[in-house]
Symmetry: C2
């Protein structure tokens, strides 16, 4: 772990919806005032989510490193420490580290009814190599 990290790295995500190494530290469970899951996700270089959607959107707050955010059919955006990404509802996208840098973000993942994410297929090696081209 980085000596300067804000949060413990948490548990390695092994749910099959990530490629490479990603870790989740839950910061706050959903409750009557906060209708979201609050967590911190650390992506090692090469680590990324599958393509997915959120029925009520998600807010990412990048606190360390640099990586990518990409909506389906659009160019990938470089995201880095200090960036806030407001992801719309029902919008297919992925996020993660770059091939050569780690990236850590806080995630505020809103619930609609009892669902906060709908997982889709992995980001292919070809798709990922494309966004990592210099």
């Amino acid at each position: 772990m980085e000596t300067n990290a804000i949060f413990p790295k948490g548990d390695k995500l092994t749910n099959g919806y990530f490629t490479g190494d990603a870790f989740l530290k839950v910061l706050l469970a959903r409750d009557k005032n906060s209708d979201f899951l609050l967590g911190n996700v650390t992506f090692e270089p090469g680590g990324r989510t599958n393509w997915h959607t959120h029925p009520k959107g998600q807010v990412l707050i990048v606190i360390e490193g640099e990586g990518f955010y990409q909506e389906k059919g659009k160019p990938a955006q470089v995201i880095k420490k200090g960036d806030v990404i407001n992801i719309p509802e029902n919008t297919e996208h992925w996020h993660g580290a770059s091939a050569r840098t780690e990236m850590t973000h806080i995630a505020i993942t809103h619930f609609k009814d009892d669902v906060n994410v709908v997982w889709l297929h992995p980001v292919s090696e070809q798709e990922y190599e494309e966004v990592n081209k210099p």
Copy 2:
């Protein structure tokens, strides 16, 4: 500004509800999915909020330094980098830096109708000295 800060410091709070120096950087405005104000608050040593309440609560995520969180009638808690504080609704409290250290936190401040904070009286010098005693 700290060279390693995650966010710009933002604007000095001059609304009369803070003692000492505190700065706000708004990270995200309330919208249809996020029924809260998302901001980052930096308290210089000695800086603190007035006593106040939130009609639907607030979540603090401490990202730098060390300070205090105190609910009315209870001992102050030391809060530091990595701590998450889930503040209940309608609960009188204050937060801020210690007399000798700065403290920076992200704040997720929920709205109830169109109100997310009710400001009360300042934390007196006597109250503040009391919690800063070694």
